[in-house]
């Protein structure tokens, strides 16, 4: 199908974007990579009166280390993250996750900031940002503010972003010595949204893990942290007994939403499988 008619503005500044958002409210949509938005327009699931194209805003591009954080501009594409040496060094979780996002032609255009703002609970970037304890940087009429990932994802496709704010960057802490990061997911076909996925980080203390963060994709209305299981893992060595205990804890804690083809029970089972697989990697990585 074809998109309904809409008006189009290519913005010159963030201030102009904010002004247009204030003027047009919910009739306007911000166009970043467009890999979700343009599909919904073509299917007429959405008929905004105005698209505000932010692709001309150079300030929203680029990946740079700023002290103890890696700042990734909102317009950085999935493919740029995939091939970035800075990302591979300082946030290896993102480098590992990037190839799982759709396909090359989409990764060449889809953006980091667009994915965070859209907040699909089955998508990679929201879950990764949560696992890394990252921050979303947004700008509105009152200036710039920073929102922790833990406070950003509020509900299905719903975030703490105000109607007249846009995401300008996402920041993740630079991986410290001894930090372990990993992700795994189950998809029917490479590049599809995960049936269930898991992004995780932890700090190694000898053979034991500390400050474990487990962020699941595809199980809830938002990317979801298994906080009780994280606590259970605190200070433990990821041996076979711990893996079994963690999977049991997770399956008791998680209440997955079913999707069209997978029941809640199936997802509960799969989440436990993925957790055990990933924790086994943490063990192998630590010996490597």
């Amino acid at each position: 199908m074809k998109a309904a008619a809409f008006d189009y503005v290519k913005a010159d500044s963030v201030a102009q974007v904010i002004e247009l958002l204030q003027q047009h409210g919910d009739d306007a949509r911000v166009l970043a990579g467009g890999q979700t938005l343009l599909a919904t327009l073509n299917m007429r699931l959405s008929e905004p009166a105005l698209l505000i194209d932010i692709n001309g805003l150079a300030a929203l591009r680029g990946i740079e280390r700023q002290g103890e954080v890696l700042r990734i501009g909102a317009l950085v594409t999935h493919a740029e993250i995939e091939r970035s040496e800075l990302v591979a060094r300082h946030a290896p979780l993102l480098a590992q996750a990037a190839p799982h996002i759709a396909h090359r032609a989409i990764r060449n255009r889809g953006t980091w900031g667009g994915s965070l703002a859209y907040a699909d609970p089955a998508a990679e970037w929201p879950a990764c940002l949560l696992a890394l304890g990252g921050t979303v940087v947004v700008q509105g009429p009152g200036g710039v503010r920073r929102i922790a990932a833990d406070d950003f994802f509020l509900g299905l496709y719903t975030t703490a972003l105000a109607p007249d704010e846009i995401v300008i960057a996402g920041e993740v802490p630079v991986a410290r010595e001894g930090q372990w990061q990993g992700m795994t997911q189950l998809a029917r076909r490479h590049g599809d949204y995960a049936v269930v996925g898991l992004a995780a980080t932890a700090q190694r203390r000898g053979a034991a893990l500390a400050s474990v963060r487990l962020a699941f994709m595809g199980v809830a209305a938002t990317p979801w942290r298994a906080r009780r299981t994280e606590e259970l893992l605190e200070g433990r060595e990821p041996d076979d007994a711990t893996l079994a205990m963690a999977a049991a804890s997770l399956r008791a804690e998680i209440e997955p939403l079913p999707d069209l083809t997978h029941s809640s029970e199936t997802k509960r089972h799969l989440a436990g499988v993925l957790l055990q697989r990933l924790l086994a990697c943490a063990r192998r990585d630590s010996k490597g």
Binding site: M1, K2, A3, A4, A5, F6, D7, Y8, K10, L31, G34, Q35, L38, A39, L41, N42, M43, L51, D53, N55, A79, P99, A102, H103, R104, A105, I106, N108, R109, R189, H190, G191
Partner: protein, 161 residues
């Protein structure tokens, strides 16, 4: 007549200045305004890959890019890369391996394969399969398509050594 915008875009090396409606996506523009019918429209929501074209040197979904966004950009379509001969080996390998039946997906497959062989010269068969997973072939000719791409990776490697 809906409100239109003027864009200047270079397609297959030729500059064009055209009026487009904001809602027109890149492939409708290429097909209907410029008469370049080689890029196909399948699903029109980013799933099938039949509309794959190059925008500023990288493959994109032509149905998920607006024509107005191509203002000032370089676009390459299957017509351009066929004429210039840069994918002659891929096209010959597709023929040699019977890597097409109806041919509807072939332009998109070739555009995707072009970026693969240019950017991942050491790609394994598994990586070729992953890369091509973004392009549907409803004649189910994937095996032969992967064979053809692997053949070209091998040929180019031999030519370098």
């Amino acid at each position: 007549m809906a409100d239109t915008r003027t864009i200047q875009v270079t397609v297959n090396g030729r500059p064009h200045r055209c009026q487009v409606e904001p809602r027109t996506h890149l492939v409708d523009f290429l097909r209907d305004e410029l008469g370049l019918k080689g890029s196909h429209l399948g699903c029109e929501h980013g799933v099938c890959g039949a509309c794959t074209v190059e925008l500023d040197g990288r493959i994109v979904r032509g149905c998920l890019t607006l024509a107005v966004q191509a203002d000032g950009a370089q676009v390459q379509t299957i017509e351009g890369v066929s004429e210039s001969g840069v994918i002659r080996d891929l096209q010959q390998a597709f023929v040699a391996h019977n890597a097409l039946q109806c041919g509807f997906c072939t332009p998109g497959m070739l555009m995707a394969a072009k970026e693969l062989v240019e950017t991942r010269p050491e790609a394994t068969r598994a990586e070729v399969r992953e890369w091509i997973s973004g392009n549907y072939c409803r004649c189910t000719g994937y095996h032969a398509i992967v064979d053809a791409v692997c053949d070209v990776l091998h040929q180019r490697k031999e030519a370098r050594s």
